[in-house]
């Protein structure tokens, strides 16, 4: 596997191929396996109100339902996260690490290097799609549908083409920016814009033309799983042509630009003063920066971008669903009336009430998202310990406990902001659209998330005293994933009380309908405190090199 660049690059993708291929494959299989029950329960009534989400073609058939739920937006957009990151780091990642210098010191043409790496990425996507196509086939069999592998394969290949385009967009953008993170961010923004253009065009017929500039539109022009939809080869040809243009542009630019630099150097810095003046100016500017006064403040500043985006996205999700309540409540009421399967789908919430609807849609997922957010913020501490960024900080005359305390306080404070803004946002939106919700219950639902966030962060701090960052986050993520799955599947699994009470999301419960649950909330808070105290004790007493 080390004989050629493309083979070596392909070797680096095998874990991603397996994880994404199997993970998404299982999702597809689960969707097929439950499709008949869900369709019989009349779920199509609800999905007909979700026009913004995808094309509603043959929605009352299993292929139509699976196409709408999985292949329309969810799977391609979800997998695009990986494709975008892979495209952004294809050459920029090696440039950042300094490994591209070594590779290009060998007698290899730049264009060839880029094309070989791109070949490896294309093959990785292809293998992933072959795995997915097999799961589509298994799904068809489990749903007692006619097994049609050619349709399954074409569906997967259509997804693969979509992913390759976004990887290539990220690759092209990475030629114009210095950091792979920036390239990935800009490409993700393009993905979101493309989705919005397609959605708005589909819902608002006056703006139908908007869809024609979205890649989602040309991707969704083909629905190979649904026999009644004819193949649109023009759309495929357009997507292939776009891919080729992106590849050629990236290759030409990469072959011509300076290594470690960007394709277009804009003189935005203007005229630089003599070195001494610049020096004085930079030091004076830093001296007036309030966020450099302590580790806590510096951590808050470092978290700002992540905090901003997590808050914006969760707020958007919450406000969007809240705004839908008046139009969807009747549909939900009719759908769940006397229907056991539909009730199970919403984890026992009475979705015919405002707060029940919020519980089933918003507060079944937001606590998980914000707990993951707190974990990723605490992760920065263990990452910095791993890569020795804290060594200099720890050489200053600050007690270790204070440094850890300041970091934890910054994370604790940052994790307070999204629940607070969600609560305020909910009250504001409800007031604007004249929706009746209980102020106390919504406060309970929002602020009961805090102990969950703090427990996840405290576990990261505790494990980080002994374990490397990757293992620490892996273990805490596993705990969160099991907790979530236990609670999510509880209506079907019917786990005994002692077992289900180990799930922190079960302990969170449904305060949006039941009000504040002080017992479980204080239990989680107590656990978080104990974990944090143990983290303080271990960090104070342990050597910095003992984290293996």
């Amino acid at each position: 596997m080390l004989r050629a660049i493309w083979l070596k690059s392909l070797r680096e993708y095998w874990i991603a191929i397996l994880c994404w291929g199997l993970g998404l494959g299982l999702l597809i299989y689960a969707m097929y396996a439950t499709a008949q029950d869900v369709l019989s329960a009349g779920v199509t009534q609800i999905y007909q109100s979700f026009g913004f989400y995808g094309d509603q073609v043959a929605l009352n058939t299993i292929p139509g339902y699976v196409t709408f739920r999985v292949f329309g937006t969810t799977l391609p957009a979800f997998l695009a996260i990986w494709a975008i990151l892979a495209g952004a780091r294809l050459v920029r990642g090696d440039e950042e690490r300094g490994t591209l210098d070594v590779l290009l010191a060998q007698p290899i043409m730049r264009a060839r290097l880029l094309l070989e790496k791109l070949l490896a990425l294309t093959l990785a996507i292809l293998v992933m799609m072959l795995i997915i196509s097999l799961f589509i086939l298994f799904g068809q069999l489990s749903a007692h549908e006619t097994a049609d592998y050619p349709r399954a394969l074409l569906t997967a290949l259509n997804v693969g083409l979509f992913e390759l385009i976004f990887a290539c967009i990220a690759l092209l953008i990475s030629q114009f920016v210095r950091w792979r993170g920036a390239a990935a961010g800009w490409t993700a923004a393009i993905l979101v814009i493309m989705f919005l253009l397609d959605s708005v065009g589909r819902v608002q017929h006056n703006f139908d033309w908007l869809r024609h500039v979205s890649i989602f539109y040309y991707y969704n022009a083909n629905k190979p799983l649904i026999p009644s939809v004819n193949a649109n080869w023009g759309a495929v040809a357009l997507l292939i042509a776009l891919t080729l243009v992106l590849i050629v542009a990236s290759t030409v630019i990469f072959a011509r630009r300076d290594l470690g630099s960007v394709a277009l150097q804009l003189a935005i810095n203007g005229w630089r003063q003599p070195a001494t003046v610049e020096r004085v100016r930079a030091l004076a500017r830093a001296a007036g920066d309030p966020f450099l006064r302590s580790l806590g403040l510096c951590t808050l500043r470092a978290q700002f971008v992540a905090l901003f985006w997590w808050t914006v996205i969760t707020l958007f999700f919450v406000e969007f669903l809240t705004a839908l309540i008046p139009s969807l409540l009747d549909v939900f009421r009719k759908a769940v009336q006397g229907n056991a399967v539909m009730s199970q789908l919403f984890s026992g919430y009475n979705v015919a009430t405002n707060q029940g609807f919020l519980g089933a849609t918003v507060f079944a997922f937001i606590p998980v998202a914000l707990t993951i957010f707190a974990m990723t913020q605490a992760y920065t501490w263990s990452r910095d310990l791993d890569n020795q960024r804290l060594e200099i900080i720890l050489s200053t005359p600050q007690p270790r406990i204070r440094l850890l305390g300041e970091h934890a306080a910054a994370v604790g404070l940052a994790s307070l902001i999204p629940p607070l803004l969600i609560w305020l946002g909910l009250l504001l939106t409800a007031n604007i659209i004249n929706l009746r919700i209980d102020v106390g219950d919504t406060a309970a639902a929002c602020f009961s998330m805090l102990p969950l966030e703090w427990l996840a962060a405290a576990l990261v701090y505790l494990l980080a005293t002994r374990l490397p960052a990757g293992l620490t986050t892996g273990l805490v993520s596993l705990f969160l994933a099991i907790s979530f799955l236990m609670e999510f599947l509880q209506p079907m699994l019917k786990l005994p009380d002692w077992l289900i009470n180990l799930s922190i999301f079960h302990l969170y419960g449904s305060p949006i309908t039941e009000g504040m649950r002080w017992g479980p909330t204080l239990t989680i808070l107590g656990l978080a405190l104990v974990a944090m105290l143990a983290a303080f004790f271990h960090f104070k007493e342990s050597s910095l090199t003992a984290r293996t």
């Binding site: 470092a302 200099i392 005359p397």
Partner: protein, 254 residues
């Protein structure tokens, strides 16, 4: 520095315990690790200001002087700095609070020759002010030039600590003696301090490995009408290599 918990014994700096009084110790110390890593998104100026605050405030004029002396541009982000510039930043943050003790691990790594010379000048100033520099380096000519005392570590144990000058004096030196006619190694074998004698190819020159003073060797050379006598003092590098020779037993630290 309070990084590692001692498995046995204790370490002190200025009579302060390095583990239990770590914060007090760190007030006295300026530290440069072998790999200086920091948040890549902060600029050099931000890093220096931040560390200055964590140290309870530093003299900004002095920080600026240090930047100028090492020709360091603090306006760039850490990830944009070359290895040499990262090293300069590391040195500035170690020097900026005028510590009583500087602990520097491979301090001249990545510095260009001009900045190396400036760094050596900074070291001499620190020494002349009565402050201490504790420096670890693989570049032995640099150690020889900048340090007054050296310690040699072999297989994790301190095998020698001494003044550089005394170490050189204590260790073997090479003496080359030329004679007008054929010479014999036997003339010098057995003399005090003479460890080995080698005859040169033309038979008129002897190479002696001598430890300690040369009185007996000079007398014997004069007795055999020596034409010239030159001594070659060993460099620190040669002394170091002798400690690492395979047959050299590991001695207990002093």
């Amino acid at each position: 520095m309070g990084f590692l918990r001692p498995s046995a014994g204790r370490a002190t700096i200025a009579s302060l315990d390095c583990w239990s009084q770590a914060a007090a110790v760190k007030r006295l110390v300026g530290y440069l690790p072998s790999e200086f890593a920091f948040d890549p998104s902060l600029t050099g100026a931000q890093i220096l200001t931040y560390l200055g605050h964590l140290r309870g405030g530093v003299d900004r004029t002095y920080v600026q002087q240090l930047c100028e002396r090492l020709d360091f541009d603090p306006s760039k982000r850490f990830r944009e700095y070359s290895r040499g510039n990262r090293q300069k930043l590391g040195l500035i943050q170690a020097f900026m609070h005028r510590p009583r003790l500087l602990i520097l691990d491979e301090p001249s790594n990545g510095l260009d020759p001009l900045n190396q010379q400036e760094f050596y000048r900074m070291l001499r100033e620190v020494q002349s002010e009565g402050r201490t520099v504790f420096l670890s380096s693989h570049i032995l000519p640099e150690v020889e030039q900048t340090c007054s005392r050296v310690g040699i570590i072999r297989e994790g144990r301190l095998v020698e600590v001494n003044e550089v000058s005394r170490l050189k004096h204590m260790r073997q030196q090479t003496v080359v003696i030329s004679f007008p006619g054929p010479a014999s190694p036997e003339w010098f074998q057995g003399l005090p301090g003479v460890a080995a004698v080698h005859l040169n190819r033309d038979g008129r020159e002897l190479h002696l490995d001598v430890q300690g003073d040369l009185q007996a060797v000079i007398k014997a050379a004069a007795a055999h009408d020596a034409l010239s006598l030159t001594t070659q003092e060993p460099s620190l590098e040669e002394i170091f290599l002798r400690f690492y020779q395979a047959d050299q037993p590991v001695a207990a630290g002093r």
